[in-house]
């Protein structure tokens, strides 16, 4: 499942970008760190024999979603709003403790489940054509529901974003 050196370099970049997003005081910097994180994960998808998912990751996540984020940040002038933590310092320690506890719990599960590793399967055909066939053979109903979800969210955004009539018009 990929070259160890490539994996370590990509993992290091991904974790560093994630930490950069977490600690940046400027929201624009956070968004750009997140773009770097998404791009790194897209490269990992390509390493994992999922080139089409990698391209979707770049276009949809790093392209569309993050542009939306940056647009809202700049629209609101929110790049300097909100400190790293609230006024209470105990929240910071509690959050750190909870995050470490999360990693420990997952780590225990990972250590216990380590025995099921039966070696990697042979690479499968993951071309866009094969993915499309699988999508429309086994997931037609979820696909239709996805369409309804997108329409609903689109209407919701239009309703939310509309200015109230007669209010600071």
């Amino acid at each position: 499942m990929g070259n160890p050196i490539v994996f370590f370099i990509l993992a290091a970049i991904a974790i560093a970008a994630a930490m950069g997003m977490l600690t940046s005081r400027n929201a624009v910097h956070s968004a750009l760190f997140l773009v770097l994180n998404f791009a790194t994960i897209a490269v990992l998808y390509i390493v994992l024999n999922a080139p089409f998912i990698g391209m979707v990751q770049i276009t949809v996540y790093a392209g569309a979603i993050m542009v939306l984020f940056l647009f809202v940040i700049m629209l609101l002038g929110a790049d300097k709003l909100g400190g790293v933590v609230g006024e209470d310092k105990w929240q910071r320690y509690l959050a750190g403790f909870l995050a470490v506890a999360l990693v420990v719990v997952f780590g225990i599960v990972l250590a216990q489940g380590g025995g099921v590793d039966t070696g990697t399967a042979t690479a499968i055909d993951s071309s866009p054509a094969a993915l499309g066939m699988r999508l429309f053979e086994g997931y037609v109903f979820p696909f239709e529901v996805t369409g309804v979800l997108l329409l609903t969210s689109m209407i919701g955004v239009v309703v939310l974003g509309r200015k109230k009539r007669g209010k600071d018009a």
Binding site: G2, M21, S30, L68, G82, A95, T120, G138
Partner: protein, 102 residues
Amino acid sequence: MPDVTIDWYVALSIILFAIGALGVLLRRNAIIIFMSVEMMLNSANLLFVAFSRHLGDLNGQVLVFFVITVAAAEVAVGLALIVTIFRTKQSINIDEINLLKG
């Protein structure tokens, strides 16, 4: 040089998920909290693709599509909510958003 196994990807996914959760808990800027949620969704996607490769099963990659779609819808609605809140309160600090009716 050891081979890269599924466990390495699970570990990377765990770390990214924990950093995302830490961001949700620590930060007070609603936009940053949304970005952290996106990162947690992404770590789950990475796990889907890694197991898809590990088991030689294409279904994991199809599920990633649905996760990306739901994430896109969620971001659109969430950012619209943030813009609406900012219009009324002139702030997106979640410590100051404490009223059900603003």
